[in-house]
Amino acid sequence: MEAVNIRDELTRGPLLFDGAMGTMLQRRGLQAGALPEVLNITHPDVVREIHREYVEAGADVVTANTFQANELKLHCQWTLEEVVEAGVRLAKESGARFAALDVGPLGQLMEPMGTVSFETACEIFARQMRAGARAGADLILIETLSDPYEAKAAILAAREQTDLPVVCTLTFQEDGRTFVGCDPATACIALGGLGVDALGVNCSLGPKELLPVVETMLRYSRAPVAVQANAGLPEIRGGETVYNVTPGEFARHAATMVEQGVGIVGGCCGTTPEYIRLLRETLGGKTWRAPQPEPVSACCSGTRTVFLSRGVTVIGERLNPTGKKKLKEALRENRMDYLLSEAIDQAEAGAQVLDVNVGLPELDEADVLRRVVKEVQGVVGIPLQIDSADPAAIEAGVRACVGRPIINSVNGKEAVMDAVFPIAKKYGALVIGLTLDESGIPPTAGERFAIARRIVRRAEEYGIPREDLLIDCLVLTASAQQEQVLETLRAIQLVKRELGVLTVLGVSNVSFGLPDRETLNATFLAAAFGAGLDAPILNPLSQKYMEVVGAYRVLAAEDRDAARYIESRVKSETFTPTDAPVQRDLKELIVQGRREECAARVKAMLGDTPALSIIDGCFVPALDAVGARFESGELFLPQLMQSAEAVKSAFAVIREHMDRTGEKTAFKGRVLMATVQGDIHDIGKNIVKMMLENYGYDVLDLGKDVPVAQVVEAIRREDIRLAGLSALMTTTVKSMKDTIAAVREAGLKCSFFVGGAVLNEEYAEFVGADHYARDAMESVEIANRFFDANAKE
């Protein structure tokens, strides 16, 4: 069959897929737990016969027995290519109209929860896709996935390695979400733009229970919707697994879905040729009508969708190094913690989307953007906006996104549109278009509107619909071009009225060079809302801006019954500021673990006390006192940590002060910390890191699951003399040994202290460490002794 034909059929509906392979094999005596894919080679007749039964039952498409044929799961004497080739061949030999390569989940969780990187996932899937295409599959079925990130890797691999149509179905649980928390609307928004030929749901539940999920998908999926339900839920009866939905019921429910617009149906666990035969019969009398998905403007993370067309959307601007010294330093030194705290603060302040910009001339922007995107989406569950002028960096960032991002930005320059629109199209991203072109920012609203119109037209030529565009009419500063400030608002009105696209605006520029910028910005923001602004890019940590946003949501009837507004007012009225004058002793506050008060006290002290004497005179003795009480059992870990958190927040005040005044405090020493390769339990390491920092050490944190070579390289490059390694599992203690051995072999003079749940003195010796640290306090003592001794030498 020609691939073209099936692509047509996928849009014409309904197309009938087959039922389960696994349960059919089990019935023929295959062991649960054994790899069923091996049977393609050892028992080809059994596999072919099952396919043939489905063809006879009326299935248009049979699914090759290749679900687990990926290199993470397939451990047998045959190569992946041999197993896939045999599987696809058997499916074709069954006489089916179409044979699908079946692609299941990798079997291991992906980053950030797991250890398989997005790039590795793409490579693993790519090999499976290539093998399937070479074997002559007519289409690719990616199924039973829970993670939209994994689905993205699989879809991209299929699209990049083959020309075959791609059907992708995820698995949803009773709560309407996948195991990683993805809801059906988010699945459609995240994956719909990646060029899939059909999107849908399979496994876990029966057709009746899946109905709400299916209805949501019909509403939001731009691609045809596929459903392969289980034959209900498994029950054990007399030691046998049986499914509780009969073939008749199954066919009835599935046929109803087809009437609602589902274009592809088939069965998953527990279904047999009998289910498919009845389904074929039932479909005979039904008429299919193409679904009419709602055109929406939406971006998403892996777990949450933001509908830009349904109200004001706040885009947080703070992850941008322009004019931010600390962020620049954090990016240069790869201190992700600082970036992540900025991301979390913005999300908690009400940002719904985060702009991510890492443009610094000395950095490899594509590489840094890819890493930052992954880290940020690992801790905040909101969509991202990839902000760069470099198309290579844009592609790296957009590719690494788990959900559907916004690209910031293109403009009216032909070369820029030609470079960026293909990226937006390939990854299904939304795009911001700036109303400037080769001759700069035009002064009048009419001219800016003309550029916007050109951008919309060019986008449509690239197949990007206007609901996927946002136009930025650009703000000029009131101090330099006062007459033109309101032109921006007129341009917004024109764009909204004439083009019907969404608008976005970075408001802060308007006040550049003037005092009390917040008031100007807030006023301009309110005016821009009035002109039709949909998505302001602003600093969500500014209370004033967020108040304007909250108030506008009431006036625009977005905040129903002003519920959120009223709630926030009540909260702020009962709020008592914690930075009232504090008279208590700082040491006492640290011992009691009073974070806010410590920070406020240090702020007050810094007027007449040098930073260094606060650290040495208060922090260290207070921490020592708490540490001693912890050692003696008078305090337990959370109490020690409360004091540590208090010092941490006080330290932040001191750093800010030093940045401002240029006052320098020498660190006591530099310590490298890492959780070794293969291990991802890093809470212990993070506690030790915080304690060391509180005692004035500069900690270079390499994170978790750190490859041996990376530790060696960092120790060499940064001239590290003391390093701490952690491992939690007996299986990863070996990595600890390898890491230390590699550093010694490289001839580097570095001492190691090690810790972790399974470690003890014996193990420490076994791995070749110099010190064993039982807990965080002991790590500090080791560092103190080490650097004191070094200072004396």
Partner: protein, 228 residues
């Protein structure tokens, strides 16, 4: 599903120290958060037990359990139940996020999740016991990979025979770490009523525990929840 606050505090190393009201409140808040975010799910399967000995062979070779300790643990059992429990990824995501913003809360939430995992294991085991009871069998204690000399390398096999990725979203890494992290797999012997070993009627002892040399509970003169 309830989370035992006493257990949570014990995991955190609490040995009767005076708690401030704020700390109490924060612990309560984290227990609530844990209960809201965690999605306890489990799956289990009864498997026939071939002739006693090491390795233990289940269901005609579908699963093999190496080591003398599991063989002893299952001695006299007519069948075994293999189980897997997980809390899902959401609570872990929050633990990770809190690590950056508030380490104390993160630590407490982590401990709460550990306690809840145990509660979920108990619930799963009860379900197994109920079904086994109908057939006149009683359950022994849970025995997990990593206890005694039952190697962790059996972890992928257990996940495969239970089809845990499909059923409860549980996987393991190349270095045999269960993911989501707040997860447990275990094997339970199903005994004819008169054949249950006496020592399994209570909790198990520290003797077969791989962590006995480094256990902080033991260091402080106590023991963990399995032996109380």
């Amino acid at each position: 599903m309830d989370i035992d606050k006493g257990e949570v505090l014990r995991y955190l190393g609490h040995r009767g120290q005076q708690l401030t009201e704020e700390l109490e409140q924060m612990v309560d808040e984290m227990l609530e958060l844990c209960a809201r975010l965690a999605k306890p799910r489990w799956t289990h399967r009864r498997m026939s037990l071939e002739a006693a000995g090491s390795p233990v062979v289940l269901e005609g070779g579908a699963l093999r359990l190496e080591g003398a300790d599991i063989a002893a643990h299952l001695a006299g059992a007519g069948e075994a139940a293999v189980m897997a429990v997980t809390l899902g990824v959401e609570v872990e995501g929050r633990i990770r996020r809190l690590e950056l913003a508030d380490m104390v809360r993160s630590l407490v939430l982590d401990a709460a999740a550990t306690a809840l995992t145990e509660t979920a294991c108990d619930a799963c085991q009860e379900e197994i016991a109920r079904a086994a009871g109908e057939d006149g069998l009683v359950t022994g204690a849970r025995f997990s990979p990593g206890y005694g000399d039952l190697p962790l390398t059996v972890q992928p096999d257990i996940l495969r025979v239970l089809d845990t990725q499909r059923k409860i979203g549980l996987t393991c890494t190349a270095s045999l770490i269960l993911l989501p992290r707040k997860s447990v797999t275990a094997v339970i012997g199903l005994f004819p009523r008169d054949k249950q070993p006496v020592k399994q009627r209570g909790r198990r002892s520290c003797d077969s525990c791989a962590l006995r040399k480094t256990c902080t509970f033991r260091r402080d003169g106590g023991s963990c929840e399995y032996t109380r």
